[in-house]
């Protein structure tokens, strides 16, 4: 009899898994994302020319078309495009994850404080959030990244600075809804402070929409990272970043198309995979938005 309390939850979970498993688009997304993560974790160790990833060049073998020796051909300094593209998955994934995590952390903090405190604190924080949303986020990220100087960490920070408002609005709404619920009143009556109420009682209850938004944002974060690389702000060579690889290759199309096509397809595939997965997860975890 002791298990009965968990049964509805387990059932809901099974139902969610069933729904997820029956949407082949979500499964395709999951497969792409898992493949991407495996590539990012194992890839740099398995690539045929790890020295090219580290920045070594071999100008004698420049611009060789795809062949059995170099699957994706070689670029303008004779580096193996396949090795660079595979290694780029780690950079993109880490940067994308960093942006989403940092953005979610800042946004959750701002949103939770605004929603819980209410009054002028809420008003001030939310007006700031709205203003941030009207600013062009890409230009803002470019300006911050350029001012901080090149580097993966700086770029992640710069993008996250324009990423948090979405999370702040989401979390504020959820906190407002939960704040008045009986269990919150009960903990407050027991004498818990605001930090404990928010951290231990409200946040665990609103984590699922936050996770859904994080997974939905992941594809777009990877895209933004690649965009900054493409306009030449962000990580610097020899770091193999898809956007900057594509930007360099732009001068060599259409004759040496392989230098551009493969990094470009990698960006598309990564973003597509995360978007499919995010859509599927939203359908499963957030039934309100389901159609």
């Amino acid at each position: 009899m002791s298990g009965t309390g968990h049964q509805p939850q387990a059932q809901a979970f099974r139902r969610a898994m069933y729904r997820f498993g029956h949407s082949w688009l979500s499964i395709a997304g999951l497969v792409i994302v898992v493949a991407l993560i495996l590539t990012a974790v194992l890839g740099p160790a398995l690539v045929p020319y790890p020295e090219h990833v580290a920045g070594a060049i071999r100008t004698a073998a420049r611009f060789q078309p795809p062949s059995s020796r170099a699957w994706f051909g070689t670029n303008e300094v004779g580096q193996d495009v396949f090795s660079l593209t595979v290694a780029g998955s780690r950079v993109s994934l880490l940067a994308g994850l960093g942006v989403v995590l940092l953005g979610a952390a800042i946004g959750t903090l701002v949103g939770a404080v605004a929603g819980y405190a209410g009054g002028w604190v809420d008003e001030a924080l939310m007006r700031l959030t709205d203003l941030m949303l009207t600013l062009p986020s890409l230009i803002l990220a470019m300006a911050i990244a350029a001012a901080l100087g090149p580097g993966l960490g700086n770029m992640v920070f710069a993008i996250a600075m324009s990423w948090w408002p979405g999370f702040a609005r989401l979390v504020r709404g959820e906190v407002l809804a939960k704040r008045e619920e009986a269990f919150v009143l009960a903990v407050r009556a027991l004498g818990a402070g605001p930090a404990r109420i928010l951290g231990r009682h409200i946040l665990p209850n609103i984590i699922s929409p936050i996770i859904v938004k994080m997974s939905l944002d992941m594809g777009f974060a990877i895209l933004t990272v690649a965009s900054l690389g493409f306009v030449g702000i962000g990580v610097k060579p020899p770091t193999p970043e898809w956007g900057s690889l594509l930007s360099l290759a732009r001068g060599y199309v259409p004759d040496y198309w392989w230098t551009a096509i493969f990094p470009g397809c990698a960006i598309f595939l990564a973003v597509f995979g995360f978007n499919l997965l995010g859509d599927g997860l939203r359908d499963v975890l957030d039934p309100k938005t389901r159609r």
Binding site: L135, A147, V231, L246, F268
Partner: protein, 335 residues
């Protein structure tokens, strides 16, 4: 209706003040000394100080903000430290170029997205629906700069149908500058050939830019149409024997379109801010490229100008959308 518009206009004032304050604060929080950078590595301390005095960066921050904000109202948006040109003059040339591109992209997205969404909803869960859903998910994931490059390879380099980049052929004389929108200027000059050239140059970059709003509008339109189709009044109309086409275009589409309007407003700002990606690929002389050049040299005044201009356009477009809402849906006006 007039009161509704007036009230919205008054509400703009604090937003614009906040926007200018925020842009100013961010640009002064960032590390780096643009004046020292512009003076060059060999500059002496006196030269840097002289330049700082010339650009007013040696004064206290509140004084600087006050002079910046009051200058904004007079149309003095500061000067570039590097080129010494007034930012306002540059914006007058570059902003119309970007706006023309964004408007063209938005027009493409609406003209293709609304029928696609309707079609998807009519054939819900049949093959046209699956196709348009998969295509729109793919389209959202496609990097605009990669798509632009592919379009260039295909339509400009291989087929040679459309111009590779730029806004107008370098060897031709563009129509006289009136609005800065080449298409409008060409029409004002009654120059058919110039209009044709401007439109041809617009095709590829506008399409590259339109793909992601197109996909979103398709999805929104699909979802909204499915919802409207289930309303009781549609059932009534069907029971009364109204022709299917009339129901769809007169009653369903109009009601479903209002949700797409919001998307248009949101995307407008997003495209303006992200225009740099397409502008880089197509060498389009707009605010994106202008801002990038300024960002790389840490020339803050142009960056602030572009950010602010985009913010203002974004706010104004959303105001326009709200007014359109009021026209489409009388209930909104009374709230």
């Amino acid at each position: 209706m007039l009161r509704f518009i007036l009230r919205r206009l008054v509400l703009l004032v604090p937003v614009l003040v906040g926007l200018s304050l925020l842009v100013f604060a961010i640009s002064h929080l960032l590390p780096g000394d643009p004046v020292a950078l512009a003076a060059g590595p060999q500059a002496t301390r006196e030269e840097i100080a002289a330049l700082a005095r010339e650009f007013g960066t040696d004064r206290s921050l509140p004084v600087q903000y006050w002079s910046y904000a009051s200058g904004l109202l007079r149309g003095e948006w500061g000067r570039s430290v590097l080129t010494r040109r007034p930012v306002w003059e540059d914006l007058r040339i570059y902003l119309p170029a970007t706006l023309e591109l964004v408007v063209a992209a938005m027009a493409m997205a609406v003209l293709l997205g609304i029928p696609a969404g309707l079609l998807s909803a009519i054939y819900v869960n049949r093959w046209p629906d699956y196709l348009s859903r998969l295509a729109s998910l793919g389209a959202i994931s496609m990097p605009r700069f990669f798509l632009g490059l592919l379009l260039q390879i295909g339509f400009a380099m291989e087929l040679g149908w459309l111009p590779l980049d730029g806004r107008y052929p370098l060897i031709e004389e563009p129509p006289r500058f009136v609005t800065g929108f080449l298409t409008i200027d060409a029409m004002l000059a009654l120059n058919g050939q110039a209009l044709m050239l401007a439109l041809l140059h617009l095709c590829l970059p506008a399409f590259a830019m339109s793909l992601s709003p197109l996909a979103t509008i398709t999805r929104m339109m699909r979802a909204a149409t499915i919802e409207v189709l289930q309303q009781d009044y549609v059932l009534t109309e069907r029971a009364l024997g109204l022709p299917r086409r009339l129901i769809l275009f007169k009653y369903v589409a109009r009601n479903a379109m209002s949700s797409s309007l919001t998307v248009i407003g949101l995307y407008f700002g997003w495209l303006l801010g992200g225009s740099v990606l397409v502008e880089t690929v197509f060498d389009w002389p707009g605010v994106g490229l202008y801002a990038t050049k300024a960002i790389v040299t840490q020339d803050f005044m142009p960056v602030m100008g572009v950010t602010l201009a985009i913010g203002v356009v974004f706010v104004l477009v959303n105001l326009l959308i709200d007014i359109l809402y009021g026209l489409l849906n009388p209930k909104v006006r009374l709230q």
